[in-house]
Symmetry: D2
Subunit: 348 residues, 4 copies
């Protein structure tokens, strides 16, 4: 249930509404937008009637949300969420590109690639310090040392950092080093981790599980939002289907316009994992933007044949540069300002 | 096995090569490109050695094709196929849009929509006279009467017609009425039909089966090519996956750049069946072009609520017009000339 | 809509009911069971009310069938169908095994294997004369010659024959040679073929399409039944999923009890195509029976390394014999009489 | 790489072999079977040659394992693993049934059902105290209180307990209360959890991920085994496919014989989650045993309409009793002793 509050009122003016919600056995959750304030009513709402709120003059409208996700629903923020993450904009009208190596392998490698992607126009650096590997015998990432290298790359380039957390221990370690926490496909329904992410003050990039439905994905976002963290970004990274001869996964771009009709959260496309092969990355990056995505996350490596993980899907810096140029052009048609530099100050 | 013949030679100059191929128990198939002539060696090629052809001075190079498709392979025509179908161009650098109703329902409906899509810039009219329906009790199409209506629409607008054949009887009936024969997903491996399509002189649009691999799809194209019909166009129309709550199929755009690396045949994207919902059609049309497709096939209906089939996925004429404008703009970035009128004479 | 007629009445006694149905714009289809007669009302039934039939004393009950399949529904024959096909029983309480080579390769091979499977207890011989092959360059079957060999095998062993028809031409050819027409997975939605199968007087074994839903499968059976042929047998042969490393398909045994709750048609399991590997065939044959199937269809070859198709999944005659013994034992627990010899006369 | 040691030798006699392995940069892992001792060589084995071990007379044979799983491979224990878990036997020749409610909902409910399933012949009680729920607003389980109820049920009936751990905190809590730790489908690739499970001294039942390949599943088992915990039991619980109209998941019984050819670990089938509907549970339980499984895990509830989770798939106690009788009968044919009582002392 979503309650839309009249313009101009402050939370303290709607105390009675909030008390009423609690009386009815549910819990209120306030979302302040630029143009309106909404109250999402969570918990046991089955027995609450729209009539229960008709008496309050502060209330503009009350809607029953039939979808099981509420805080994540578009109804909660009909104009979409806009985030400014350390000078990088996510949201309607904006577009940005995150790029970097799959894994942090050494300081030299990471700094080299960080400077290359910055030069080409990426505004966020990606790089894994903890790597989810199906084999216990594969390279598992550099851990804390990797985080320190990422921090150095961020300081040298001025770009914020995104990196993956696989568990609570890693998450705690990352709080001082990274700017966006990435949650991988295999952890999309790691509910203990999702609950913890709801309590922290960092943006979360939540990748779709390999065979997760759109509803399950949004419900996982709902776990984080319900915990109190409202900075959730969704990332499509390819689903598992029957044909893996020529691509590692099937990038499901249908979900981009689907999500735009269901949720206010920004949507990122990962054409690197979504295809698994270098020659498919540029066309699917362009297709990702054309489908309506807010951002791309792309693997770039200057020596892919030496990469410790996912070398075959990494773009060369020169190819990445050429792709960036096309994305900037296409952004104009799509009504998206492609950001190629960090903003000086907070924007919205 | 693909044999590349030196420039300038004519088929009669390479008689000896052809005889040698037949002696070895295989059959030669000549493909004349603008810049080179290639001979595909079909049949039992396992025991043929590259050395068998070294003595011929006419031969420039001999390649073993490890893929099971040969005539369809990119190696057979490295620059891609270009078709001029009644003044509409398919191939590198070109782009065209086919549009129209799902089913031919009446003369009035078909003519009305045909004029609307022509006005917006479509250059081929689509419309089903024979409808594959999972229920024997559903509307099965107007049949011959529908074909006559399509012919009238073609005469009034000047646009060529594409329509689906479901069996040999329907195929024979269509020969006098339609310009491109569409083969639906359910018939992609109807081998008897494929063999017949190899014998006719009409372009074929071959839709991907609902769970067909890329290789199976190309092998089905190979059936038609091996029969002697070299005008085959591939059409991605969405695959079947685990999530059908918000879209009918999963449009698999990964296959567009994959096919571009494997085959010379043009690739069409069908965002209507690939999504199943009107609000997803425009973004996925743009994404289809951005992924590298050569054409789109889009369902348009001016009274979708009255449509006898697939109403929910049909675009309104006004939405189609707006989409066409964006496609023309995007074509410039993609290096594609979006065709919005029929060419006067044969081009290439 | 299903109308159940009182016991003992004959079709001529219910003329008025049939006329009423036609008056209402629908068409009646009589199904005579041993214990009751039912009338399925097909066509436009949306506007027909249960009340329309309340006045007729001949009618015992009227049910609205919400499922889109009617003739195939369990409601149409609540006790299940029982077929006697040339002395082999399909239906509740019965169990039989069809076995033989994937393809008819020579008279010698076919006769040898036919005698071996008969000796082990199979009561129907399988063997392909027309082979659906994804490549136009693969062995396509012996055709008419193969049918003649099958006929000879049938005469020598006394066992009826099942073989696959791929198109109308092949179907006509087979009418004089085979006893059960098999329709393969790729043709499950070849509607032209299904309509023709409705007109012939031969039992049809309808394999499930590679990614067909249960409803689509039953609707394809409905095409045949609605055409007037009531001898349809369903065959699960494995679906396409994401993991093909260790099995060719995923045998979906869930559908066996699902079908038993939805339809009266017999259900066969094909553990050979359902797995693709010899060592999986025996366990999955037992599992097929345990899940409630009415029959199995198993590939057997005495020289699988020489087989022209599907050698890796063929059982050796000795393994088949051992499996037959276990099936006979398990039949007792499952309440199934496993038939190992052709019955002398018509049974029911 | 697997090294088979001659019979009769003790670990201390093969010190030199172990040192050699460490010298080569890999690590040895000893597995003592009843009939032989094997040493699995883990880590970087690419550069190790079979010749490196030829000089040791203690060694009987050395095999390169091409599969990426080693400790889990059948080669490591060719006769299969046999576990005695508090008097319940898992392994070749044995068969047991775990049963109980989906969730622990109250002491009364749990004790009632525990006694019912014991009476029918189950030897392990299942019941969830921590529930993985896709919605943050759904019942999440009784937690510690639920564990205490399970302990009471175990004391009253004498049956060991299996329950699911979702995270490290829950795992620690469970160590004093449950006998087998269940890891759910969503956590199959929660690598942090898997690593922790390798360090504890409790048997683990590892459910297959919803779209996990067999190889990924065995690699997850390998994580636990490599950590030092050799009591891993695999559980097939249905995969996600395209058809969910009549069953919640597709129970993939092909994997039972596949696993029997790849690994020594016991295999359990979960027909409750694998189907999602009560009327499918009994046939698929029988099919599970027939396919070669070592055990079943079945949801039973005496008031399924009141269940807080998964009511529609729970068997009634009376149906469970009838099923148990059939399983005992079928066990005789399958060469399995179906255990219906806890053994007094340690057996093997």
């Amino acid at each position: 249930m979503i309650i839309v509050i009249k313009k101009g009122l402050k939370p303290e003016n709607i105390q009675e509404v909030l008390l009423k919600i609690k009386d009815l056995g549910a819990s209120p959750h306030i979302v302040e937008g630029r143009e309106q304030m909404t109250v999402s009513v969570l918990g046991k709402t089955e027995k609450i009637s729209l009539k229960d709120f008709e008496v309050f003059p502060e209330i503009e409208s009350v809607m029953r949300v039939s979808k099981p996700f509420k805080l994540a629903s578009l109804a909660a923020k009909p104009n979409g969420s806009t985030f400014n993450i350390k000078g990088v904009m996510f949201g309607p009208g904006h577009f940005n590109i995150m790029a970097g190596p799959c894994s942090v392998e050494s300081e030299d490698q990471t700094l080299r690639i960080a400077h290359a992607v910055k030069k080409a126009g990426a505004t966020i650096i990606r790089g894994g310090a903890f790597k989810p590997r199906s084999s216990p015998y594969s390279f598992q990432g550099m851990g804390l040392e990797g985080l320190k290298i990422l921090q150095k790359a961020s300081r040298e380039t001025g770009l914020p950092i995104i990196s993956e957390a696989m568990d609570l221990e890693g998450l705690r370690m990352m709080m001082d080093y990274v700017d966006i926490i990435q949650i991988g496909a295999r952890n999309m329904q790691n509910f203990a981790l999702l609950k913890e992410l709801g309590k922290i003050d960092k943006p979360i990039l939540l990748k779709r599980g390999m065979s997760a439905t759109v509803e399950e994905w949004l419900m996982s976002a709902e776990y984080i939002l319900a915990g109190g963290n409202d900075k959730v970004i969704l990332c499509e990274r390819g689903i598992r289907t029957f044909d893996t001869q020529f691509s590692r996964n099937t990038l499901d771009l249908n979900v981009v316009p689907i999500l735009k009709g269901l949720t206010h959260l920004p949507v990122v496309v990962d054409p690197s994992h979504g295809t698994g092969f270098r020659h498919l990355v540029a066309p699917m990056s362009l297709a990702g933007m054309a489908s309506g995505a807010d951002s791309l996350i792309i693997e770039v490596h200057d020596k892919p044949e030496e990469a410790l993980s996912d070398g075959p899907q990494a773009l060369l810096p020169s190819d990445f540069e050429a792709l960036m140029k096309k994305l900037v052009q296409m952004g104009e048609i799509m009504g998206r300002k492609v950001q190629t530099e960090i903003l000086d100050k907070k924007a919205s």
